[in-house]
Protein backbone atom coordinates (compact mmCIF):
# COMPACT_ATOMS: atom_id res chain seq x y z
CA UNK A 1 0.00 0.00 0.00
CA UNK A 2 2.64 2.44 1.11
CA UNK A 3 4.71 1.34 -1.77
CA UNK A 4 1.86 1.74 -4.23
CA UNK A 5 1.28 5.40 -3.43
CA UNK A 6 4.47 6.14 -5.26
CA UNK A 7 3.84 3.62 -7.95
CA UNK A 8 1.74 4.93 -10.81
CA UNK A 9 2.63 2.05 -13.08
CA UNK A 10 0.31 -0.80 -13.95
CA UNK A 11 0.91 -2.26 -10.50
CA UNK A 12 -1.62 0.10 -8.92
CA UNK A 13 -4.47 -1.55 -10.77
CA UNK A 14 -3.67 -4.76 -8.97
CA UNK A 15 -3.90 -3.17 -5.56
CA UNK A 16 -7.33 -4.04 -4.21
CA UNK A 17 -7.46 -0.84 -2.16
CA UNK A 18 -7.11 1.38 -5.20
CA UNK A 19 -9.22 -0.27 -7.88
CA UNK A 20 -12.77 0.86 -8.61
CA UNK A 21 -15.59 -0.85 -6.78
CA UNK A 22 -16.54 -3.72 -9.08
CA UNK A 23 -12.98 -4.97 -9.11
CA UNK A 24 -12.81 -6.13 -5.52
CA UNK A 25 -10.19 -8.41 -4.11
CA UNK A 26 -12.62 -11.22 -4.74
CA UNK A 27 -11.82 -10.81 -8.39
CA UNK A 28 -13.80 -9.51 -11.28
CA UNK A 29 -16.26 -12.37 -11.87
CA UNK A 30 -17.33 -12.35 -8.24
CA UNK A 31 -17.73 -8.60 -8.26
CA UNK A 32 -19.93 -8.72 -11.31
CA UNK A 33 -22.06 -11.37 -9.68
CA UNK A 34 -22.46 -9.21 -6.59
CA UNK A 35 -23.35 -6.24 -8.75
CA UNK A 36 -25.98 -8.30 -10.51
CA UNK A 37 -27.36 -9.42 -7.17
CA UNK A 38 -27.41 -5.88 -5.86
CA UNK A 39 -29.39 -4.78 -8.87
CA UNK A 40 -31.83 -7.66 -8.70
CA UNK A 41 -32.50 -7.73 -4.97
CA UNK A 42 -31.74 -4.15 -4.00
CA UNK A 43 -34.33 -1.60 -2.92
CA UNK A 44 -35.14 -0.69 -6.51
CA UNK A 45 -35.27 -4.30 -7.57
CA UNK A 46 -38.04 -5.11 -10.00
CA UNK A 47 -41.03 -7.02 -8.73
CA UNK A 48 -44.02 -7.96 -10.81
CA UNK A 49 -45.70 -4.66 -9.96
CA UNK A 50 -42.84 -2.29 -10.68
CA UNK A 51 -41.06 -3.89 -13.57
CA UNK A 52 -42.85 -1.66 -16.04
CA UNK A 53 -42.07 1.59 -14.20
CA UNK A 54 -38.72 2.63 -15.44
CA UNK A 55 -36.75 5.82 -15.38
CA UNK A 56 -36.03 7.16 -18.83
CA UNK A 57 -33.26 9.43 -19.93
CA UNK A 58 -34.30 12.88 -21.10
CA UNK A 59 -33.16 13.76 -24.58
CA UNK A 60 -31.97 17.27 -23.74
CA UNK A 61 -31.46 18.27 -27.35
CA UNK A 62 -35.14 17.66 -27.96
CA UNK A 63 -36.41 19.25 -24.78
CA UNK A 64 -37.67 22.80 -24.47
CA UNK A 65 -39.43 24.51 -21.61
CA UNK A 66 -41.15 27.59 -22.91
CA UNK A 67 -43.82 30.10 -22.09
CA UNK A 68 -46.04 32.58 -23.90
CA UNK A 69 -47.79 35.60 -22.46
CA UNK A 70 -49.93 38.34 -23.95
CA UNK A 71 -50.07 42.01 -23.08
CA UNK A 72 -52.42 44.73 -24.26
CA UNK A 73 -51.11 46.35 -27.42
CA UNK A 74 -48.08 44.07 -27.53
CA UNK A 75 -47.16 41.12 -29.68
CA UNK A 76 -47.21 37.76 -27.87
CA UNK A 77 -44.07 37.34 -25.81
CA UNK A 78 -42.30 33.99 -26.07
CA UNK A 79 -39.39 32.67 -24.11
CA UNK A 80 -37.73 29.53 -22.89
CA UNK A 81 -35.28 28.33 -20.27
CA UNK A 82 -31.88 27.20 -21.51
CA UNK A 83 -30.85 25.28 -18.39
CA UNK A 84 -32.98 22.63 -16.78
CA UNK A 85 -32.89 19.12 -15.43
CA UNK A 86 -35.59 16.54 -15.08
CA UNK A 87 -36.63 12.98 -14.46
CA UNK A 88 -39.26 10.92 -16.20
CA UNK A 89 -40.54 7.59 -14.91
CA UNK A 90 -43.05 5.90 -17.18
CA UNK A 91 -45.31 2.99 -16.33
CA UNK A 92 -47.36 2.10 -19.35
CA UNK A 93 -49.25 -0.60 -17.46
CA UNK A 94 -50.13 1.63 -14.54
CA UNK A 95 -50.06 5.24 -15.78
CA UNK A 96 -50.83 6.54 -12.28
CA UNK A 97 -47.43 5.25 -11.20
CA UNK A 98 -45.65 7.41 -13.73
CA UNK A 99 -43.79 10.35 -12.34
CA UNK A 100 -41.90 13.39 -13.49
CA UNK A 101 -40.12 16.38 -12.13
CA UNK A 102 -38.38 19.28 -13.79
CA UNK A 103 -36.26 22.04 -12.39
CA UNK A 104 -35.31 25.08 -14.47
CA UNK A 105 -32.70 27.70 -13.72
CA UNK A 106 -34.43 31.08 -13.52
CA UNK A 107 -31.40 32.99 -14.81
CA UNK A 108 -31.27 30.84 -17.95
CA UNK A 109 -34.36 32.56 -19.38
CA UNK A 110 -34.09 33.46 -23.03
CA UNK A 111 -36.81 35.79 -24.33
CA UNK A 112 -34.92 37.15 -27.29
CA UNK A 113 -32.61 39.91 -26.09
CA UNK A 114 -30.18 40.32 -23.19
CA UNK A 115 -31.79 43.54 -21.91
CA UNK A 116 -35.24 41.96 -21.99
CA UNK A 117 -33.93 38.80 -20.28
CA UNK A 118 -32.34 40.91 -17.54
CA UNK A 119 -35.64 42.66 -16.99
CA UNK A 120 -37.52 39.34 -16.70
CA UNK A 121 -34.88 38.08 -14.24
CA UNK A 122 -35.28 41.21 -12.11
CA UNK A 123 -37.15 41.37 -8.80
CA UNK A 124 -40.26 42.61 -10.65
CA UNK A 125 -40.78 39.22 -12.31
CA UNK A 126 -38.72 36.05 -11.78
CA UNK A 127 -36.53 37.52 -9.03
CA UNK A 128 -33.84 35.07 -10.13
CA UNK A 129 -31.32 36.21 -7.55
CA UNK A 130 -33.60 35.31 -4.65
CA UNK A 131 -35.37 32.36 -6.31
CA UNK A 132 -32.80 30.73 -8.59
CA UNK A 133 -34.98 27.80 -9.63
CA UNK A 134 -38.54 26.99 -10.65
CA UNK A 135 -39.65 23.41 -10.27
CA UNK A 136 -42.51 21.10 -11.04
CA UNK A 137 -43.08 17.74 -9.34
CA UNK A 138 -45.95 15.54 -10.43
CA UNK A 139 -48.37 14.32 -7.78
CA UNK A 140 -50.93 12.58 -9.95
CA UNK A 141 -50.88 11.15 -13.45
CA UNK A 142 -54.06 10.13 -15.17
CA UNK A 143 -54.44 8.53 -18.56
CA UNK A 144 -57.17 10.22 -20.60
CA UNK A 145 -56.83 8.13 -23.75
CA UNK A 146 -54.13 6.30 -25.68
CA UNK A 147 -52.28 9.48 -26.49
CA UNK A 148 -53.30 11.95 -23.80
CA UNK A 149 -52.57 12.12 -20.09
CA UNK A 150 -53.27 14.69 -17.44
CA UNK A 151 -50.50 15.44 -15.00
CA UNK A 152 -51.23 17.31 -11.81
CA UNK A 153 -48.28 18.48 -9.83
CA UNK A 154 -46.78 21.12 -7.62
CA UNK A 155 -45.21 24.12 -9.27
CA UNK A 156 -42.82 26.14 -7.16
CA UNK A 157 -42.21 29.67 -8.39
CA UNK A 158 -41.04 32.68 -6.38
CA UNK A 159 -40.92 30.34 -3.38
CA UNK A 160 -44.67 29.64 -3.58
CA UNK A 161 -45.89 26.10 -4.26
CA UNK A 162 -49.29 25.58 -5.89
CA UNK A 163 -50.83 22.75 -7.88
CA UNK A 164 -51.16 23.09 -11.64
CA UNK A 165 -52.46 20.65 -14.23
CA UNK A 166 -50.79 19.93 -17.54
CA UNK A 167 -52.27 18.14 -20.51
CA UNK A 168 -49.72 15.84 -22.07
CA UNK A 169 -49.69 14.47 -25.57
CA UNK A 170 -47.81 11.20 -25.54
CA UNK A 171 -46.24 9.98 -28.75
CA UNK A 172 -44.36 6.69 -28.47
CA UNK A 173 -41.75 6.27 -31.17
CA UNK A 174 -39.80 3.26 -32.39
CA UNK A 175 -40.42 -0.40 -31.65
CA UNK A 176 -43.44 -2.01 -30.01
CA UNK A 177 -42.18 -1.47 -26.46
CA UNK A 178 -40.96 1.97 -27.47
CA UNK A 179 -37.40 3.17 -27.35
CA UNK A 180 -38.36 6.80 -27.18
CA UNK A 181 -41.48 8.65 -26.13
CA UNK A 182 -42.13 12.21 -27.15
CA UNK A 183 -44.21 14.39 -24.85
CA UNK A 184 -45.78 17.77 -25.33
CA UNK A 185 -47.19 19.12 -22.09
CA UNK A 186 -49.22 22.30 -22.08
CA UNK A 187 -50.84 24.21 -19.29
CA UNK A 188 -51.63 27.55 -17.79
CA UNK A 189 -50.05 29.31 -14.86
CA UNK A 190 -52.04 32.01 -13.11
CA UNK A 191 -48.99 34.00 -12.04
CA UNK A 192 -50.71 36.15 -9.42
CA UNK A 193 -51.24 32.94 -7.39
CA UNK A 194 -47.46 32.85 -7.03
CA UNK A 195 -47.20 36.53 -6.16
CA UNK A 196 -46.08 37.64 -9.61
CA UNK A 197 -48.39 40.60 -10.09
CA UNK A 198 -46.28 42.93 -12.24
CA UNK A 199 -48.15 44.61 -15.10
CA UNK A 200 -51.61 43.18 -14.36
CA UNK A 201 -54.01 43.95 -16.05
CA UNK A 202 -52.07 45.29 -19.06
CA UNK A 203 -50.00 42.11 -19.03
CA UNK A 204 -52.16 38.99 -18.69
CA UNK A 205 -52.31 37.20 -15.37
CA UNK A 206 -52.38 33.82 -17.12
CA UNK A 207 -49.40 32.60 -19.05
CA UNK A 208 -49.12 29.50 -21.16
CA UNK A 209 -46.38 26.96 -20.66
CA UNK A 210 -45.31 24.30 -23.10
CA UNK A 211 -42.83 21.59 -22.23
CA UNK A 212 -41.66 19.50 -25.14
CA UNK A 213 -39.47 16.58 -24.26
CA UNK A 214 -38.40 13.17 -25.41
CA UNK A 215 -37.62 10.31 -23.10
CA UNK A 216 -35.16 7.62 -24.14
CA UNK A 217 -34.77 4.08 -22.92
CA UNK A 218 -31.74 1.89 -23.40
CA UNK A 219 -33.89 -1.21 -23.31
Amino acid sequence: MQNNLNNWGMGMFRDPALVPLPYTRFGRPVALLMLALAVSIGPRAPTAATVAAQAWRIDEARTSIGFTINAAGYPTTRGHFRHFSGRIVIDFEHPAKSFTNFTVQADSIDAGSPAFDDFIKSALLLNAEKFPTLSFTSTHVEKVDARIAQITGDLTMLGVTKPITLTVNVDPEGSAKGRAVAFVATGTIVRSQFGMIFGIPLIDDALGITVKTRALSDE
Binding site: A71, P75, R78, I200, L202, I203
Partner: protein, 185 residues
Protein backbone atom coordinates in the same frame (compact mmCIF):
# COMPACT_ATOMS: atom_id res chain seq x y z
CA UNK B 1 -33.72 96.53 -32.07
CA UNK B 2 -31.48 93.53 -32.29
CA UNK B 3 -29.11 93.50 -35.23
CA UNK B 4 -27.37 90.20 -34.62
CA UNK B 5 -27.18 88.39 -37.94
CA UNK B 6 -27.02 84.83 -36.71
CA UNK B 7 -28.27 82.78 -33.80
CA UNK B 8 -25.78 82.36 -30.95
CA UNK B 9 -23.58 79.29 -31.49
CA UNK B 10 -25.02 77.49 -28.43
CA UNK B 11 -28.57 77.86 -29.77
CA UNK B 12 -27.56 76.75 -33.26
CA UNK B 13 -25.92 73.66 -31.78
CA UNK B 14 -28.93 72.92 -29.55
CA UNK B 15 -31.35 73.46 -32.44
CA UNK B 16 -29.69 70.86 -34.68
CA UNK B 17 -29.10 68.46 -31.80
CA UNK B 18 -32.80 68.71 -30.93
CA UNK B 19 -33.73 68.25 -34.59
CA UNK B 20 -31.79 64.98 -34.76
CA UNK B 21 -33.09 63.70 -31.42
CA UNK B 22 -36.73 64.67 -32.07
CA UNK B 23 -36.82 63.12 -35.54
CA UNK B 24 -35.06 59.98 -34.25
CA UNK B 25 -37.45 59.69 -31.37
CA UNK B 26 -40.58 60.21 -33.50
CA UNK B 27 -39.33 57.66 -36.05
CA UNK B 28 -38.38 55.16 -33.37
CA UNK B 29 -41.75 55.62 -31.69
CA UNK B 30 -43.60 54.74 -34.87
CA UNK B 31 -41.28 51.84 -35.73
CA UNK B 32 -41.46 50.24 -32.28
CA UNK B 33 -45.24 50.55 -31.92
CA UNK B 34 -46.42 49.93 -35.49
CA UNK B 35 -43.78 47.77 -37.11
CA UNK B 36 -42.08 45.73 -34.41
CA UNK B 37 -43.79 42.38 -33.90
CA UNK B 38 -41.26 40.92 -31.51
CA UNK B 39 -41.51 41.80 -27.83
CA UNK B 40 -37.78 41.60 -27.14
CA UNK B 41 -36.95 43.90 -30.05
CA UNK B 42 -39.71 46.25 -28.97
CA UNK B 43 -38.39 46.24 -25.41
CA UNK B 44 -34.91 47.24 -26.61
CA UNK B 45 -36.25 49.95 -28.95
CA UNK B 46 -38.47 51.32 -26.18
CA UNK B 47 -35.47 51.61 -23.84
CA UNK B 48 -33.61 53.60 -26.51
CA UNK B 49 -36.71 55.71 -27.24
CA UNK B 50 -37.03 56.59 -23.53
CA UNK B 51 -33.32 57.49 -23.30
CA UNK B 52 -33.65 59.81 -26.30
CA UNK B 53 -36.72 61.35 -24.69
CA UNK B 54 -34.77 62.09 -21.51
CA UNK B 55 -32.09 63.76 -23.65
CA UNK B 56 -34.73 65.82 -25.53
CA UNK B 57 -36.16 67.04 -22.23
CA UNK B 58 -32.74 67.92 -20.78
CA UNK B 59 -31.48 69.72 -23.90
CA UNK B 60 -34.79 71.59 -24.35
CA UNK B 61 -34.60 72.94 -20.80
CA UNK B 62 -31.00 74.06 -21.40
CA UNK B 63 -32.06 75.51 -24.76
CA UNK B 64 -34.92 77.55 -23.26
CA UNK B 65 -32.55 78.91 -20.61
CA UNK B 66 -29.98 79.91 -23.24
CA UNK B 67 -32.79 81.39 -25.36
CA UNK B 68 -33.95 83.51 -22.43
CA UNK B 69 -30.43 84.72 -21.68
CA UNK B 70 -29.34 85.57 -25.22
CA UNK B 71 -30.78 87.74 -27.94
CA UNK B 72 -32.36 86.34 -31.06
CA UNK B 73 -31.56 87.74 -34.48
CA UNK B 74 -34.14 90.04 -36.03
CA UNK B 75 -36.47 88.07 -38.31
CA UNK B 76 -36.07 88.51 -42.04
CA UNK B 77 -38.74 90.90 -43.31
CA UNK B 78 -42.01 89.15 -44.29
CA UNK B 79 -45.69 90.01 -44.04
CA UNK B 80 -46.77 90.73 -40.43
CA UNK B 81 -49.29 87.88 -40.53
CA UNK B 82 -46.54 85.44 -41.58
CA UNK B 83 -44.31 86.74 -38.80
CA UNK B 84 -47.11 86.10 -36.32
CA UNK B 85 -47.61 82.61 -37.79
CA UNK B 86 -43.88 81.92 -37.50
CA UNK B 87 -43.80 83.12 -33.89
CA UNK B 88 -46.82 80.98 -33.01
CA UNK B 89 -45.34 77.93 -34.73
CA UNK B 90 -42.03 78.35 -32.91
CA UNK B 91 -43.75 78.62 -29.54
CA UNK B 92 -45.86 75.57 -30.39
CA UNK B 93 -42.70 73.66 -31.35
CA UNK B 94 -41.11 74.44 -28.00
CA UNK B 95 -44.31 73.44 -26.18
CA UNK B 96 -44.65 70.15 -28.08
CA UNK B 97 -40.97 69.30 -27.66
CA UNK B 98 -41.57 69.65 -23.91
CA UNK B 99 -44.96 67.89 -23.89
CA UNK B 100 -43.55 64.84 -25.73
CA UNK B 101 -40.97 63.78 -23.11
CA UNK B 102 -43.11 64.95 -20.18
CA UNK B 103 -46.14 62.91 -21.30
CA UNK B 104 -43.80 59.98 -22.01
CA UNK B 105 -42.39 60.30 -18.50
CA UNK B 106 -45.93 60.35 -17.11
CA UNK B 107 -46.72 57.22 -19.15
CA UNK B 108 -43.75 55.19 -17.87
CA UNK B 109 -44.45 56.39 -14.32
CA UNK B 110 -48.17 55.63 -14.18
CA UNK B 111 -48.32 52.46 -16.28
CA UNK B 112 -48.95 49.20 -14.46
CA UNK B 113 -46.10 47.84 -16.64
CA UNK B 114 -43.58 49.92 -14.75
CA UNK B 115 -40.32 49.11 -16.47
CA UNK B 116 -37.40 51.10 -15.08
CA UNK B 117 -35.91 53.74 -17.38
CA UNK B 118 -32.14 53.89 -17.15
CA UNK B 119 -31.27 56.77 -19.46
CA UNK B 120 -28.53 55.56 -21.84
CA UNK B 121 -27.73 52.94 -19.21
CA UNK B 122 -26.29 55.70 -17.03
CA UNK B 123 -28.85 56.82 -14.45
CA UNK B 124 -32.36 55.76 -13.48
CA UNK B 125 -35.19 58.17 -14.25
CA UNK B 126 -37.21 58.82 -11.08
CA UNK B 127 -40.86 57.72 -11.19
CA UNK B 128 -42.71 60.32 -9.11
CA UNK B 129 -46.28 58.91 -9.34
CA UNK B 130 -47.91 55.62 -8.46
CA UNK B 131 -49.20 53.32 -11.21
CA UNK B 132 -52.68 54.46 -12.24
CA UNK B 133 -54.34 53.02 -15.33
CA UNK B 134 -56.66 55.99 -16.18
CA UNK B 135 -53.71 58.42 -15.78
CA UNK B 136 -51.59 56.20 -17.99
CA UNK B 137 -54.28 56.07 -20.68
CA UNK B 138 -54.65 59.88 -20.59
CA UNK B 139 -50.87 60.36 -20.79
CA UNK B 140 -50.74 57.89 -23.66
CA UNK B 141 -53.43 59.80 -25.57
CA UNK B 142 -51.58 63.09 -25.03
CA UNK B 143 -48.28 61.49 -26.10
CA UNK B 144 -49.76 60.12 -29.35
CA UNK B 145 -51.71 63.33 -30.15
CA UNK B 146 -48.65 65.47 -29.45
CA UNK B 147 -46.52 63.18 -31.64
CA UNK B 148 -48.93 63.64 -34.55
CA UNK B 149 -49.08 67.41 -33.99
CA UNK B 150 -45.28 67.63 -33.68
CA UNK B 151 -44.77 65.61 -36.87
CA UNK B 152 -47.12 67.98 -38.70
CA UNK B 153 -45.46 71.07 -37.25
CA UNK B 154 -41.93 69.84 -38.00
CA UNK B 155 -43.05 69.31 -41.61
CA UNK B 156 -44.39 72.88 -41.76
CA UNK B 157 -41.19 74.14 -40.08
CA UNK B 158 -38.97 72.40 -42.67
CA UNK B 159 -41.21 73.57 -45.52
CA UNK B 160 -41.06 77.15 -44.25
CA UNK B 161 -37.24 76.99 -44.05
CA UNK B 162 -37.13 75.75 -47.64
CA UNK B 163 -39.47 78.54 -48.81
CA UNK B 164 -37.30 81.12 -47.02
CA UNK B 165 -34.19 79.71 -48.63
CA UNK B 166 -35.21 78.84 -52.17
CA UNK B 167 -38.19 81.10 -52.93
CA UNK B 168 -37.69 84.22 -50.86
CA UNK B 169 -33.90 83.69 -50.91
CA UNK B 170 -33.35 85.18 -47.47
CA UNK B 171 -30.94 84.31 -44.67
CA UNK B 172 -33.41 82.62 -42.30
CA UNK B 173 -31.94 79.13 -42.69
CA UNK B 174 -28.36 80.34 -43.22
CA UNK B 175 -28.19 82.05 -39.86
CA UNK B 176 -29.30 78.86 -38.11
CA UNK B 177 -26.76 76.94 -40.10
CA UNK B 178 -23.70 79.24 -40.07
CA UNK B 179 -22.62 82.79 -39.36
CA UNK B 180 -24.94 85.12 -41.28
CA UNK B 181 -24.31 87.69 -43.95
CA UNK B 182 -23.93 90.68 -41.65
CA UNK B 183 -21.17 88.97 -39.66
CA UNK B 184 -19.06 88.50 -42.74
CA UNK B 185 -19.16 92.13 -43.84
Amino acid sequence: MNDAAAWPAALRFLHWLSAVLVVASLGLGVIMVQFTHDTAARFELTQTHKSIGVAVLAFTIVRLCVRALTSAPKPEPTAPLLQLAAKTAHIALYVLVLVMPLSGWLMVTTTPVRIPTVAFGLFPLPYPFAPNLPFYRAAHTVHVAAAIALTALVTVHVAAALVHTFIWRDQTLARMWRIGRADRT
